[in-house]
């Protein structure tokens, strides 16, 4: 009887060890298995370089100085315009200093397809650098084909039928490729995208820019 009890205890211990072993193996397999699964690792960036004791190191920094000087040459001199096509804001700067800010209207990004010829127009304001090529008082808009297609009309063959002496307002500053900074009959839309790619300004801001900003000034559109 005592022998039976002892062997029963041994059997229980053996089963217990086996069960513990199985659990351990399962756990290890799970950890190794999950551990091998692909996961996203994250590293916060933003560390700063250790301060240089004497940063004006002309010997070591000569290349940097040369690049800095070449960059300085590229910067615009005098007045330049900045157009934020998302916020529909136009700013005038002189050597980095803000002189004037105004609400404007830029392109809607709308797409127009000519049902007859299949031509496609995207009414977006281009981004990048442009220059004011010429300035005109009382500008006349020579309406392109899309202006007629948009109205469901056939573009006229007679150029006189394309002349519009009202829509551009009092002044036009031409940026090339048909893009113009001009006035508007719809000042309530300023601050919102509303144009076919041109930049519309209110009368007062347009007059100021026409008088102050010279031909050749850079215009940065983003």
């Amino acid at each position: 009887m005592a022998l039976d009890l002892a062997s029963s205890e041994e059997r229980t211990t053996a089963w217990g060890r086996l069960a513990a072993g199985i659990v351990l193996v399962l756990l290890l397999t799970a950890v190794i298995g999950v551990g091998g699964l692909p996961a996203a690792h994250w590293t916060a960036l933003g560390g700063r370089e250790a301060a240089v004791e004497s940063p004006q190191v002309i010997e070591g920094g000569r290349g940097a100085l040369r690049a800095w000087r070449r960059l300085a040459v590229l910067r615009p001199r005098g007045l330049y315009l900045v157009v934020d096509t998302q916020a529909n804001r136009l700013r005038v700067h002189r050597d980095g200093e803000l002189l004037r800010a105004a609400a404007c209207s830029t392109g809607t990004g709308r797409i127009l397809r000519d049902p007859r010829g299949g031509r496609l127009w995207v009414f977006a304001t281009p981004t990048g650098e442009r220059r004011i090529r010429r300035k005109v008082a009382d500008p006349v808009w020579v309406k392109p084909d899309w202006a007629f297609v948009e109205q469901g009309e056939e573009p006229p063959r007679d150029p006189r039928e394309r002349r519009d002496e009202v829509s551009l307002g009092d002044y036009g500053l031409y940026l090339g490729d048909g893009y113009i900074i001009h006035g508007t009959l719809f000042e309530s839309l300023l601050g919102r995208p509303a144009t076919h790619g041109c930049i519309r300004l209110g009368g007062e801001d347009l007059r100021w820019i026409y008088e102050e900003v010279p031909v050749g000034a850079a215009v940065y559109l983003y």
Binding site: G35, G36, P38, A40, H41, G46, Q86, G128, Y220, Y222
Partner: protein
């Protein structure tokens, strides 16, 4: 006499330029390559906590970043496969966020504004702008491992693209989406881990 000396000193400072170290040269050269073109480019500086809109070397606009992270794939318990990102580096936007956005059926604003925009850069690297601080700790990694396993089992594959993740304010999210247009160049100015 005094006036002439002070003029000479001012001229010398102007000619000498700013305080520059040799380590500044790669960044300045990288920016010079961008500023020579008549294009808008972006400078992402985790150290300054800023995304700057630039042209010809001048800053046109700035967007404040609440945080910048490098997210990269790797086994949950193993060594990650792409720990480092070299900087300065010029990256080009290959797919803009607005190209993948689903156009709204009407002009009405969506009911829930987006909290994330993604652009694809060179080499499969993503630039992700978020408005909510990402959970980046140990438990998050375990969660992503299990979630990844589930998506892999369900046949959707694992989203394991390395990404630069920037946190911006909700108001700035649409600005970032607008700025990340196709072919726009992004200069990663620095990529040192935060202390």
């Amino acid at each position: 006499m005094l006036r002439s000396i002070s003029t000479s000193v001012a001229l010398a400072v102007l000619l000498a330029g700013p305080s520059l170290a040799a380590s500044d040269a790669p960044l300045l050269r990288a920016e010079l390559g961008l500023a020579e073109r008549p294009e808008i480019y972006l400078v992402l500086s985790p150290a300054a906590g800023e995304l700057t809109v630039k042209a010809r070397g001048i800053a046109l606009d700035r967007i404040a970043l609440a945080g910048v992270w490098l997210r990269y794939p790797g086994p949950w318990l193993g060594a990650p496969s792409a720990r480092g990102l070299r900087a300065p580096a010029v990256l080009t936007v290959r797919r803009a966020p607005l190209e993948t956005a689903v156009p709204a059926a009407s002009g009405d604003p969506p009911e829930t504004p987006p909290t994330e925009v993604r652009a694809l850069l060179d080499g499969g690297l993503e630039l992700v702008a978020v408005t909510i601080t990402p959970r980046t700790g140990w438990w998050r990694r375990l969660g992503s491992a299990l979630g990844g396993a589930w998506t892999a089992l369900s046949g959707d594959g694992v989203d394991a693209a390395p990404a630069l993740v920037v946190q911006v304010s909700p108001a700035d999210l649409s600005r970032v989406a607008h700025l990340l247009e196709r072919d726009r160049r992004v200069l990663l100015a620095d990529a040192r881990p935060a202390p």
